[in-house]
């Protein structure tokens, strides 16, 4: 790589700008003092207090239900959609439509889904959040799996058929294993996105089952407590892990 020279400085500033807030948050989550601007020594007490907060635990439970459910459904449906489009569609428009929910502003998607749910007189609850997350999750999985499909030798499926496997058998034994890195990457992506999704969940959720981001939002309204810092740090760790795994899996794909 070429030497950066004086460009090192703006680069460093940019990175500080990107990561300083995160660093502050993580550091303050270990601050023993309740006052954000005084350092009261290192402590993990906010983490243990978090574990005793029923509201947070309920939110976490709800969020996990939605995230896991949305991941499973989006992955299955998105993979099928990607394979279907790859095999049968020569239409760029259909391709583009499959990706729209991923690009659409959350606000638009949230309001649109709320209107739709009201229109069909569906009561709101965790399941409506789950459905809403499947809508955009599917788009992400489809995008990732489609990219992988272009790299797979199409004669593999024909070879399987030629050797006596039916279409269903071929799909599960040859097609899916070939797409596995992309499927896992897509699933992790959906899980991460669903985990901290606020806007769409805010619109499509019922009052009785808030997800974690909504719980945090309502807590923050009365000021940011170190407890929230701790919670945010944990969420960040989970997201980082998922995203890095997803990236590594996609990279593995490229080298094969």
């Amino acid at each position: 790589m070429r030497s950066l020279g004086w460009l090192r400085l703006p680069m460093a500033v940019t990175y500080v700008f990107l990561y300083l807030p995160i660093l502050v948050l993580v550091v303050l989550s270990f601050n023993a003092s309740k006052q954000p601007f005084t350092w009261g020594g290192f402590s993990t007490k906010w983490y243990s207090e978090l574990a005793g907060n029923a509201e947070v635990l309920q939110g976490l439970g709800n969020t996990l239900i939605v995230a896991v459910g949305a991941t499973v459904l989006s992955t299955a449906l998105g993979t099928l959609l990607a394979v279907g489009l790859h095999r049968h569609s020569r239409s760029n428009l259909l391709d583009a439509y499959a990706l729209v929910p991923a690009i659409l502003p959350d606000l638009v998607l949230g309001i649109g889904l709320l209107v739709l749910f009201t229109l069909v007189s569906m009561t709101l609850g965790l399941y409506s959040v789950l459905l809403a997350h499947v809508v955009f999750g599917m788009a992400f999985v489809t995008a990732v799996v489609r990219a992988r499909l272009t790299q797979v030798d199409p004669s593999l499926e024909e070879a399987s058929r030629d050797l006596g496997a039916g279409q269903v058998s071929t799909f599960f034994r040859i097609t899916v294993p070939g797409l596995m890195p992309a499927i896992v990457a897509g699933a992790l992506l959906v899980f991460t996105l669903s985990l901290d999704e606020f806007v769409i969940a805010f619109f499509t959720n019922g009052p009785s089952s808030p997800t974690l981001p909504i719980v945090i939002y309502s807590m923050v309204r009365f000021g940011v407590t170190p407890e929230i810092n701790a919670l945010a740090s944990i969420l960040m760790l989970v997201s980082f892990t998922a995203v890095i795994s997803a990236q590594r899996l996609t990279r593995l794909t490229d080298t094969v």
Binding site: E158, A159, L163, G164
Partner: protein, 351 residues
């Protein structure tokens, strides 16, 4: 090897297939016999691969029928046909070991585990890959991958084995080896082979019979030697080997050109009117002026070690006339030479 008295193993009758405006197969009919090594030879885009895919079941013809031992093959989906295809890309399953790749077809048949194990290790021994059974395809060389692909196809003991450009991905040395290996295997396992290739040497050296295809049609079906010595169409004459071609008017015993008669024989139907005489460079010989069919000036000589080629420009003839002889050339550039050939060695075709 001409068992035309026996009922054919595969009978292709009037098969046509078009992709939009492109006619890939145009009323193709041919028979393939039991235990035959059959080659479909032609330039790219001649329809040979489409025909192979029709046999495997991945293409359905627009019209025509295909019978395998008298039964309708087209009615069966690819996974129920007693036909296996070795893909040009080999299409080995990357997430399975060599062993698992080879076992795949037998497992889909629901064979018992012991039988699968025995047959897999037997076929791996046949192709000489017993030591590599646990490797992944990505850990193998090109030649080894091809052997796996072959083992995977023959382990099912198909009635018909289709090979799509089997040697095209291999380098020259491995290619010669595999050529012999394929022939040996075909004898050993007693399966009918159909090879698709654009490489005439490959087809000539391996096949019992060759169907030359051009623009979706079967141009000629013959044994390699007949194909070379008696091409039935100009396309075949031009595609197989090198040849000298003279255009003239068909007459008794050859063609008339510049008030001379070039000797030649019309096989099959008599030719009249415009005609082309085809003669192979090695069938020409240098003669005295009195006996000459054509005369001209040597423009180039090439010595290949075993044989040499002399190119002669003949007045009134566009392309140089080629003469091949064993050993070193006996004439030099600029010399005036006279060439002749036997009427039986030259073919007269309708022009």
């Amino acid at each position: 090897m001409n068992d035309s008295a026996l009922a054919p193993l595969v009978s292709i009758r009037g098969v046509s297939r078009s992709f939009g405006d492109v006619v890939a197969l145009d009323d193709v009919s041919l028979d393939i016999h039991e235990n035959e090594f059959f080659a479909l030879l032609g330039p790219s885009g001649c329809g040979k691969t489409t025909l192979l895919r029709v046999l495997a079941g991945f293409e359905h013809p627009d019209s025509g029928e295909v019978l395998l031992t008298g039964e309708d093959l087209l009615a069966q989906p690819p996974h129920r046909r007693p036909v296996n295809l070795m893909f040009q890309s080999y299409a080995l399953f990357p997430h399975m070991s060599v062993e698992r790749n080879v076992a795949y077809g037998l497992e889909r048949e629901g064979r018992p585990k012991d039988e699968v194990g025995d047959r897999v290790s037997e076929v791996l021994r046949t192709v000489g890959l017993s030591d590599l059974a646990r490797r992944r395809p990505s850990q193998l060389s090109g030649g080894q991958r091809q052997r796996v692909a072959l083992a995977r196809a023959i382990v099912k003991r198909p009635r018909l084995l289709l090979l799509d450009e089997p040697l095209s991905a291999l380098d020259r040395k491995v290619r010669a080896e595999m050529q012999l290996e394929l022939k040996r295997l075909q004898h050993e396992v007693g399966i009918t082979f159909v090879v698709v290739t654009h490489d005439q040497e490959e087809a000539m050296s391996m096949a019992d019979r060759i169907a030359v295809m051009g623009s979706g049609r079967v141009q000629q079906i013959d044994a390699p030697i007949d194909l070379y010595q008696r091409p039935a169409t100009l396309f075949v004459a031009g595609f197989i080997g090198t040849s000298n071609q003279f255009q003239g008017q068909a007459v008794e015993g050859g063609i008339a050109l510049h008030d001379k008669v070039l000797p030649g024989t019309a096989h099959g139907a008599a030719v009249s009117g415009n005609a082309v005489l085809v003669v192979r460079p090695e069938d020409t010989r240098l003669v005295d002026e009195a006996a000459a069919s054509v005369s001209g000036t040597v423009v180039d000589t090439q010595f290949y070690g075993g044989v040499s080629t002399v190119a002669v420009t003949v007045p009134g003839h566009d392309a140089p006339v080629l003469h091949t002889r064993p050993g070193a050339p006996e004439v030099e550039r600029g010399a005036v030479v006279h060439l002749a050939w036997d009427a039986a060695k030259a073919v007269v075709l309708a022009g």
